[in-house]
């Protein structure tokens, strides 16, 4: 089986038998639970290439197998070091599964480990064509709140917001489709040149920003409408 170079782990020295090992979870020579490699990524934890399309059944199977193997219950009689390792590795595994299971957080995570999306380091741009609409929608939400406080008739404002909500729901669906298409492109270019990969990452990042904006709006509008 060929695994992309991006997903293999750097060789590690086993803390128990001191052999250099390429195992992900257990040392192939002595069978002991390995320390967590310094920069292990969630894809590597599941021994998967950094692909965005993941077969969910396969991921779940792997997760169940690994959680069973790494579970602290298996190490009650082991040394303290191993007990601690099992605890750490199990919690890491849970984080990894939760992140990879959700298609959006999976893209976010991929962009973070590929260096495209770093908190605070790279400025995230808001989609300019959306801003106008976002601003207007927020203003209508304000109007609705004020009208509600003043005890005015809300029917018209409510109808306006409901249609805006529908409009943004549709936009959300569109972004999700575009994200899917970009994810396919990423997978196809897994072994491609750096420039192509960079371009796809920029596109994925842009779509994520768009999505989080729309997502927030839909949530706000739904919340406000529910309270009317």
């Amino acid at each position: 089986m060929s695994i992309s170079s991006t997903s293999t782990n750097p060789p590690l020295v086993c803390w128990n038998c001191h052999e250099r090992t390429l195992g992900t979870h257990f040392c192939p020579s002595c069978g002991k639970l390995l320390q967590l490699p310094q920069r292990i990524d969630y894809f590597a934890l599941f021994e998967m290439p950094r692909k965005l399309w993941i077969e969910m059944n396969g991921l779940e199977q792997k997760f169940l197998q690994l959680s069973w193997k790494l579970h602290p219950d298996n190490f009650v009689n082991a040394t303290e070091q191993e007990r601690e390792l099992s605890l750490k590795r199990s919690s890491e595994l849970n984080d990894a599964y939760r992140t990879l299971r959700d298609p959006v957080s999976r893209v976010e995570y991929l962009l973070a480990i590929e260096g495209e999306r770093k908190e605070g380091e790279k400025k995230q741009q808001a989609p300019p064509e959306l801003l106008e609409e976002v601003f207007e929608l927020n203003e209508s939400l304000d109007e609705l709140r004020e009208a509600k406080a003043a005890g005015e008739d809300l029917a018209e404002l409510k109808a306006g917001l409901e249609s805006a909500e529908k409009n943004f729901q549709e936009k959300l669906g569109e972004v999700d489709k575009q994200l899917q298409a970009a994810a396919h492109k990423w997978d196809a270019a897994l072994q491609g040149d750096a420039a192509t990969r960079k371009k796809i990452m920029a596109r994925l990042n842009e779509l994520l920003n768009r999505r989080s904006y729309i997502r927030n709006l839909v949530t706000n509008v739904a919340k406000e409408l529910a309270e009317v």
Binding site: K123, Q125, P127, L131, F135, E139, R210, Y213
Partner: protein, 138 residues
Amino acid sequence: MAYSDKVVDHYNNPRNVGSLPKTDPNVGTGLVGAPECGDVMKLQMKINPETQVIEEAKFKTFGCGSAIASSSLATEWVKGKTVDEALAIKNTDIVRELSLPPVKIHCSVLAEDAIKAAIGDWKKKHGVEVLISEKASH
């Protein structure tokens, strides 16, 4: 996390909330947003074309307390300044004045962007000046 007193003050008594006529040739409008938190900020300035002095500034921000305080402070600071002086305002000045914590620095960046966007819009309306300043920068 607790907000600093200055943030709370701007949040409770925001200065210069409102809007200016967008189509007025002397009004520049900057609309910016931060996707991390979904904030959106609108900053408008009325600029005297003769003196290049910002005579009026208004803002409206949908977002957290720090975003509101940053834009409120920005309108206070730009009023009475010339365009060039206003462009010299850095987000770090806002961070210092409001004692913003690291997680809220992007709010001050947003305010700086809004100032630049508003002035950019005003310059665009006065097409000639853009050409001159572009020439000067080359």
